[in-house]
Symmetry: C3
């Protein structure tokens, strides 16, 4: 009976969620120093660390490969970078923070005046203590990022800029973990892993996807699961271009990002807007007992932009905490190990489990006795003494399941119409199945 395979109540007995939160935080701490970009050794090193936990396949796609309207870019690597003042002091040092270098900076070594240097500096005047995160993937240039305070203190001087990077033919690297279930129908879990030292966006997403994959791999599940660890935009475009024939198996999907901050859970709906994944996540958040936010789809954000492009229109939403661009630490050095907390990672992980719990169990059943109610009492499913005002809650759940198991309603539909939580409905369905008062619906 697959209903029992992935049951959040059973799961919670086998798991210490707090421990998992701390393990996720530990993984993030380990990955934090690595300088990732959309290609290069940073992402390779990252995937190899993840591979210690989950046997991800690491794919290498040659630069120059055409992927729809795009071309896989050259591979970028960097060893060191700094700016020296005339006294030879390193005033900007890549080794201290990999955010200091404009992503995809071409190699350079030259002396420049302050004026020329400034043309290559990026700061955040409104957040003068933070180093911004900036990239230039598709226009060859170089640059440094620094705090606005430091920028203001720069003196008229001759500087030496040095970037020991390479931009060469090579590969785009991504990780994929496919977990075969009972059916070929699959659930896609996708995270971007192209950002350097940024914790919430998106080391948190990578950690959550990793531990979700690790956890699920212990069970025999109904759906197959596909985890993608990909560079943002170009990674999902590449995967979709090279795996177009597989996309019709994707029945539900979630993009994981920004799952470690203290903000409330936020779900951005798929382009379809009323896909099963949308209903499931909204149900889970509604019954989470915590504040949450539902956003309509917009063609902006993470890789759901690609999964939900009109030529695919996959049912893929994005379950996060504070959305990208909505927290001031976003894309700055303040998105660091202090910004995220184990407890929020735990909470996000728990909600992802609840979502998968509903997806796995959300089936249709048929009432075997659809004319009038069956006599629950003679089966011990109903209180013997009649006339009492209040009946136990699961009797309501049983009556709802019986009343709506007509082939038109999934268990989630029943949960929604009754206002009861999914697990109550599912438990009632299991009990009724056991008493042959329900049967599986021939899809």
């Amino acid at each position: 009976m697959r209903l029992e395979v992935l049951n959040i109540d059973d799961l919670k007995k086998t798991l210490n969620l707090d421990d998992i939160g701390q393990e996720m935080y530990g993984l993030i701490s380990k990955l934090y120093p690595i300088c990732r970009s959309i290609t290069g050794n940073g992402i390779r090193e990252t995937l190899n660390i993840i591979k210690e936990l989950v046997p991800v396949d690491i794919h290498e796609v040659p630069a120059g490969t055409r992927v729809f309207d795009w071309t896989v870019p050259k591979e970028w690597n960097i060893k060191d970078a700094y700016v020296l003042n005339s006294k030879g002091k390193k005033i900007i040092d890549f080794k201290k923070s990999n955010l200091h270098v404009l992503g995809y900076s071409v190699p350079i070594q030259k002396k420049v005046s302050l004026a020329e240097l400034k043309e290559h500096l990026f700061t955040l005047p409104d957040q003068p203590e933070c180093i911004p995160y900036r990239t230039s993937y598709y226009k060859e240039t170089w640059g440094f990022c620094l705090s606005h305070n430091q920028f203001l203190s720069l003196e008229d001087d001759e500087y030496e800029v040095f970037i020991d990077s390479s931009l060469e033919e090579g590969y785009l690297t991504y990780g994929e973990y496919y977990l075969k279930g009972e059916t070929e129908d699959e659930v896609l879990i996708s995270c971007h892993c192209c950002h350097p030292s940024l914790c919430n966006d998106n080391l948190s997403g990578m950690a959550l996807a990793t531990f979700l994959a690790k956890f699920l791999s212990r069970f025999s599940l109904s759906y197959s699961y596909r985890f993608l660890f990909i560079p943002g935009s170009i990674g999902s475009i590449t995967w979709l271009a090279l795996n177009e024939s597989k996309t019709n198996h994707i029945k539900h999907g979630l993009v994981v990002a920004c799952v470690g901050d203290s903000g409330k859970s936020t779900y951005k709906k798929s382009r379809q807007g009323d896909a099963e994944i949308d209903k499931v996540v909204i149900h889970v958040l509604k019954h989470s007992g915590k504040d949450y936010e539902i956003m309509d789809f917009s063609p902006y954000g993470y890789d759901e932009r690609q999964y939900c492009s009109p030529g695919f229109n996959l049912p893929v939403g994005c379950l996060m905490r504070t959305p990208h661009g909505c927290f001031p630490e976003y894309h700055t050095s303040a998105d660091n190990l202090d910004f995220i907390k184990s407890e929020f990672l735990t909470d996000s992980f728990s909600k992802y489990l609840s979502v998968l719990n509903v997806l796995e169990a959300n089936k249709k059943y048929l009432n075997t006795n659809p004319k009038c109610e069956p006599q629950l009492g003679k089966r011990g499913l109903y209180g013997a003494i009649g006339g009492q005002k209040i009946n136990p809650f699961n009797q309501f759940a049983m009556l709802w399941v019986l009343n709506l198991s007509d082939g038109d309603h999934t268990l989630l539909d029943i949960a929604e119409r009754s206002g009861l939580e999914f697990d109550l409905i599912r438990n009632a369905a299991e009990l009724l199945l056991k008493h042959n008062l329900l049967k599986e619906h021939p899809e």
Copy 2:
């Protein structure tokens, strides 16, 4: 012209609603002392009293008859019951209130300690002055119900319990009154009549159904009407099992219960949720000038549970005042003759009439002159002097009826879209029919 047959305005000329309220109250007073249950002589006696007002057919279904998943239970009758203390004083006496005995108690005569007695006593600690109503239809046992105050005063003593009841092969008894109309399409009015001395739940429903039947029988109506006076749950299950072939004639239905208390009118929608009966009742309540409540369907409550089981899914709602379980007197001795009032019975009766009024007249018509407005003025249907700001209200109604009589809208649809009350729209339709500006819509 059937429009004129059941017109609430005409009716109100022929009726003194207050008198009917008092007659309903009188019937309730007469039926109140009888000890009814789901079978037995109490229900027979009740139906015979009703038969003096309306020629109901009394059906007897043998115990043991299989009705879907259920079996008609043995017939239960009771003559007397009491508890004596060691001094021979009747401390609990069935003759004072038939609620004192647990419904379907098996016969017993024995001496018991206080401790043993207590295992068979039912009280309401939160309402210490009330005797609860309790039954044990499907588990053979015995018991007494009493106020919690009396329970607390019971002394350690030897008690004699005596229940002179019988639980034997016999019959389930129900009443049915079928009023043939122009068509075989029928309106079902169902009430449960299995409760002992409880006024609102559901002597009020029985009285309302009786007087509605009596009243309607004087008219030639479009719909046929079926009134069921049945024991709750097992009665509707039995009727549905034995009359399955008739159920496809049921086009609309209402379960009548709790129609005598001071609360606002409450309508619980059918499982379909947007059936014509749902729209009609909501329209009537909205225009009643009084507060009201609309509840979604739930598979809990009265016999709508059975009528709306998925194998039938009949368009049957429940029009009541305060819903079951929502008034503290529910299923206690406080649901007595003081709890209900003639004026509330009158108000409920009037709303039922209004509902039937709409149902009977809710037809579709066709504008015979659909291109542009017809010239109402030349037919005397429009003010002669133009340019005035305000036109009489029924001109609005006429224009709405003409505009929407396109074959897609019933008169109720027109009333709802215009915001006007049904009778205004219907009167306008009658006037337009008379001038051949409308014709009947060939269904």
Copy 3:
């Protein structure tokens, strides 16, 4: 590229809207003194003045012509009318205000007592200083309208009433201006021109329609436009009866009335309720930055009553300011040249232009690159430096257009779903078309 033909932004460069407001006010001032009715020389004179601005065709339909359920009435003309007191003093004088005569009064000259006179007088007791506007098109009588204050001061006397009118075979006159566009699909703009000296209702509508026609005639447009200057009710009925075969070309329509007062813009939806014209006007008002009101359709008001009769059910709404009957000056002498203002005419005109702007450009396109996003950056359509929090607004618009240009969404649908204003979306679409990232949708 027809997108550029009628673009409100381009238009605003070619127009001084304030000047047009003043020209509209000037036209109203010129037409104000003329005594119009549903037939007669007043309407002819009016149409000839309009013809100086726009080459309207003037149609004459013989009295007695059957038009659906109606008959074109006799033509009414009036030269003079007054009431003399016994001293020969003109106490009511048509020459001072053409509202003084009941419209369609038959000729009369006779001496009458005060009592008899009063049977033919119309006043507004609640607005004692105003002369009401009254007519009697379909019942032959005569009468005078006057302020209630004057009415109260009338002394017992012998009066001479004189009305030099004629009611004879003749014609119903209306104006029509058809502007051929690229397609035969047409937009109907209809105003009533049967009211005498009343400014908001409806000289304002006639002026707006005139200047809209004049303005549009300078462009090559996608839709054809039909402007009707017709007497209210009988005029639209006559046009529909005589031009029934043309009505299937009408894809959108607006009735223009009451567009010069200080009230907020009000849109009364078409009978269909969700026609494209309804969505367009609501979008324009929502983004106008000003307060507005949306009313559901009702079969009452102006000529939308006829266009939206069930036999036609054309998508015709009514875009006005304060609706008929909702301002106290309505149908009184207070609806004069002081009641309307050039600035409000300008504002109304501007909104009509915005509506037509959307209608003309509201097409469907197809994303030529529907799988994943196209690479906007390589086409210079995207900021080169990634990672920044805020992207220019038109990038959002481009992404929305790309995401929803799937054949199911018009540009207005995209504007509505994105929450962006139509022009932003349309400009994005133009840019994408230019880069071959969109193509026209084969309808």
